[in-house]
């Protein structure tokens, strides 16, 4: 085994390009996952079966199939229907959509955790449905869900290398291209370590947040 620091320093410019793409995908993907997930969670609770069942089926389907294949589907099949996006945009939509089905479960668990008395109190005060959601249920649910949502952002970080397979060059994509061009291995190690260096402090932060919010 021969480790060469020169290779590492040659790789660094590409590495930072990759980091920027990873964080772009992560930031926009998380926003998408958070908003879509809330929409799924509320629609799944609808009393109208023709709304809740299709939403439930679609989210279950997305949740039970691999992100990798979904990315291929979005990148190769969806443009045939006339909507074409760049590789990075496709990757972001794929990540956001896939993880929205997870955040939907988190929101569901958070909403289920609000005591039934809160719903009954809202009914007793004859609050309109919208007001019940926005002023009573969601503010209490949010406190519970923030740590779990944060954890899924870290999970998403670890799944972000998949967008390299459709040609959006984030950290791993850059490492792979560099290693193939130079016949070296150091780039993979750099990226592997980078994931731990980002993921571990991030989740310690979430843990601190959890201690603060859930008491």
């Amino acid at each position: 085994m021969n480790w060469n620091w020169d290779v590492v320093s040659d790789f660094m410019p590409y590495f930072w390009d990759g980091v920027v793409v990873t964080f772009q995908a992560l930031a926009i993907g998380s926003l998408l996952a958070f908003t879509l997930g809330l929409v799924w969670a509320i629609l799944q609770r609808s009393h109208r079966k023709w709304i809740s069942w299709p939403v439930l089926s679609i989210t279950e389907f997305i949740r039970n199939t691999p992100l990798l294949v979904q990315l291929f589907f979005l990148y190769y099949v969806v443009p045939e229907m006339g909507i074409s996006m760049s590789a990075l945009a496709t990757g972001i939509v794929g990540l956001g959509l896939h993880y929205s089905t997870y955040t939907a479960e988190v929101y569901r668990a958070g909403i289920d955790g609000v005591p039934a008395g809160q719903w009954e109190a809202a009914t007793a005060l004859s609050l309109p449905r919208r007001r019940t959601w926005t002023s009573v249920i969601l503010p209490q649910a949010f406190r519970r869900v923030v740590p779990a949502l944060g954890n899924y952002v870290v999970a998403m970080l670890k799944d972000s290398p998949m967008i390299a397979v459709i040609g959006a060059f984030e950290m791993l994509g850059e490492a792979r291209a560099f290693s193939n061009a130079t016949f070296t291995i150091e780039a993979y190690a750099v990226v592997g370590v980078a994931f731990i260096v980002i993921a571990y402090p991030a989740s310690l932060l979430i843990r601190a947040l959890e201690r603060r919010l859930v008491q």
Binding site: M1, N64, L68, V69, E105, R108, V154, I185, G192, I196
Partner: protein, 249 residues
């Protein structure tokens, strides 16, 4: 998808996917129980080593580890895995780390009085674990294991990246060969869903059996056979935590 690719690549690909799932699930189960039990060990050094394993494998990406095993490992040690072995090892070790959190959590949830009763009856540590703690913790592990197994199945699609000829590989081949991607990828998604559904049914049967051993019956919800596991609020939060780095502080 043309019939040649379907019979030559796709059908064997389904079998490869199932094989990779089973092998890595078996490896993950061994790792999960080994590391999970070690993390409740009384010696701090054993807990520390097991905890470090857990944090490292949970902190890195399965795909990065898999590519490392397939491409960097042979260059570093001059010794190469069969691609499928590299995939199975990467998946088994990574998902085993997630699973160890489930095992640890379920073992710690067994009430202390049970362990004390075992000590009072002068059971050895191994006997306590085998005859008292694991039988009670086991039914609690199954629903989160079910979700993890589905995650593992989805993870097997990654082996196509290190050119193991699983069904995702066949789907890509079909796109390249026929320049028609819609049927191949749609079929692929449906296949994964069907396998996930079958696994969920199997795990549910296992759960019924395990719970019956404790004189309980699992709760039935709407659509309960069709869906992935709906966990209670605490379960959902700990599932989110198990999949990410940064554990018990």
């Amino acid at each position: 998808m043309s019939s040649g690719i379907f019979t030559e690549w796709f059908l064997p690909g389904v079998w490869i996917t199932i094989q990779v799932t089973l092998y890595s699930a078996a490896l993950a189960a061994v790792v999960a129980f080994g590391v999970g039990i070690a993390r409740t060990h009384r010696l701090w050094i054993v807990r520390f080593v097991a905890g470090t394993y857990f944090e490292i494998f949970r902190g890195t990406s399965a795909l990065v580890f898999m590519l490392w095993m397939a491409f960097a490992f042979p260059l570093m040690f001059g010794w190469q895995f069969v691609p499928m072995a590299a995939g199975v090892l990467a998946l088994g070790l990574t998902y085993g780390a997630y699973g160890s959190e489930i095992v640890r959590g379920a073992l710690q949830a067994v009430t202390a009085a049970q362990r004390e009763a075992g000590i009072a009856l002068s059971f050895t540590r191994g006997q306590r674990l085998r005859r008292i703690e694991l039988p009670q913790a086991w039914p609690e592990m199954i629903p989160p294991f079910n979700n993890l197994l589905i995650e593992l199945l989805k993870g097997t699609a990654l082996v196509s990246v290190i050119s193991v000829a699983d069904m995702t590989f066949a789907g890509n081949l079909s796109r390249l060969a026929t320049s028609e991607s819609a049927p191949a990828y749609t079929l692929l998604l449906v296949c994964y869903f069907v396998i996930a559904f079958a696994l969920t049914r199997g795990m549910r049967a296992l759960e019924r059996k395990a719970k019956a051993g404790l004189g309980q019956t699992p709760k039935k919800g709407p659509l309960s056979g069709l869906l992935s596991r709906k966990l209670n609020p605490e379960g959902e939060m700990s599932q989110a935590r198990a999949g990410t780095a940064g554990g018990q502080g």
